[in-house]
Symmetry: C2
Subunit: 346 residues, 2 copies
Amino acid sequence: MGYTFNYIIDNQKIQFLFEDTFSSILNYAPQSKIVIITDEQIDALHNNLFTGFHVIKIQSGEINKTQQTVDAIIDQLLAASIGKDVFIVGVGGGVVTDIAGYVASVYKRGTRLGLVPTSLLAMVDAALGGKNGVNVGQYKNMVGTIYQPEFILFDLNFLNSLPISKWENGFAEIIKHACIKDAAMFEKLSNHNLSDYQNNSMLLATLIEENVHLKMNVVVEDVFEKKDRKLLNFGHTLGHAIENVYNMSHGKAVSIGMVFAAKLSEKITGFDANSTHQIIQLLEKYQLPTTIEIDNDKIIKLLFADKKRIGNEMHFVLLNEIGSAEAKPILLTDLEKYINEIMLCG
Amino acid sequence: MGYTFNYIIDNQKIQFLFEDTFSSILNYAPQSKIVIITDEQIDALHNNLFTGFHVIKIQSGEINKTQQTVDAIIDQLLAASIGKDVFIVGVGGGVVTDIAGYVASVYKRGTRLGLVPTSLLAMVDAALGGKNGVNVGQYKNMVGTIYQPEFILFDLNFLNSLPISKWENGFAEIIKHACIKDAAMFEKLSNHNLSDYQNNSMLLATLIEENVHLKMNVVVEDVFEKKDRKLLNFGHTLGHAIENVYNMSHGKAVSIGMVFAAKLSEKITGFDANSTHQIIQLLEKYQLPTTIEIDNDKIIKLLFADKKRIGNEMHFVLLNEIGSAEAKPILLTDLEKYINEIMLCG
């Protein structure tokens, strides 16, 4: 029932195995050469799939996306005398696909890699584009590489066991894609709601595939984030800071970050306040928060450590209209002023 | 007085600043954007060069080529709010250039990088080709990336403070280059000795430049080690194992490894025993050891963990004649037999 499409990045072909089943990973390497990296939750839910495979399990959750987890995996690979010819397959959400990608990029200076995203967020965003990384203390993705997998396998059955909070995470990124690149998708999302997508697998599959193409087209044009790839950070600059300070889920934090970026756009690009209102309505429809009680000083300190800061400026993604975005440099001093002006607490 | 030549790897230009002076690094970035990574020994000897630069010092020695050292550097970069636009310059021997290269490749998913090798070994080998890495326990370079610097600066004044043991390390790799690729260089080395090169800076500069070109030509043809780059591992498979088990310097261990590989070549490629004798004589002339009391079991265990092992085979670099080498797969079971046959203890 599955079908395949490819993207080429830096002369490397990435095969997208869409609506496929897990066992197709055996088309890439014999079972003896595969090491599965997954987390405890996925292992508990889908253990039957892993019979006969060498499995390395990590603890679930963003708090474990650290160098220590990477070190522990490498120790296990070495202890099992795993060679450079291993095929590492990351099976899980964004934490697992990031960790697996990073390990594959540095173990014995690089091994083969495949990804099986199991969450909506990982399917439409985290597993796509080759970026991986670990957090250092409160700072997200401070260490990592850009390393492409040979395949990304989409088995939508994994979503049957996805908790509701993880659906929201995925839709935050889907709404982000719509905001920066696709007014028609924004319209379509406005005409449906979360349970429509949860109950209609064809509708969901189409939405996921659209989002895969949207992101991959941006990435293919711009692997090293000189141009459009920056736009994918819409909502993420403030979002990452909130996520860390308030220990909030990625999707919820990005949702609040998008509202802030929309309000900032009103001040800088002349973005229409009615459009900001539409974005807030859409986020609320998909059960995402749009306001927060915020400690500005903590947030500002974290923003200053962001990867996107260049000297005393920060590149911030702003909207011109729904479906059209641009990255603009903002002086940190101005940004601080705007943060204090834009009341995020409603 | 300096001059420049370039090599292109993966569309990236690497500038070789030959017989140049340290201050030329300022042609690449303003002082405020540069972070120097060096070690305590280099800092103690050449501290005057670093005035006004942000310097991160690591402990000297192979034992500190670890993930912990990388983590400590990353913590210092984050604590100082160093952005992705930093220009990292590694100034030191192979440990420093490896650590600096690895940090630059993963910090905020990759920063600018320049290298200033200060030892003969780093100038003719370690700093060239983009391979970096850290050791994991007894296993060498188990984690790392391939990441090219924008420049490699050769300031031969650094060699004035190089201790004698480090000269031997460098000559082990130079003799390796001669063995695998350059019979004329082998001849020339046979007609000189260590003090000739230490006392004649023009003779030394010519030798270093020849070795840079030799290695870079191999690397440019073969960044990912599918073909000739493997030949650079001549003497290194057993060498790495000995280095770790006996806590011996890299050069000495590789020297013993080359003698073993030459004797193995006699058995497999029909390499002339007289040539093995010539290699032993040349190594001894440059004060390198050629025999060792060895614990075969320990060595074999480490060999089996080597990156170059593929399944139950190991690719081993063998000589056909002096100046001509090839990589051949050897079954691990055969290798074990050969190790027990070839008496390394003289």
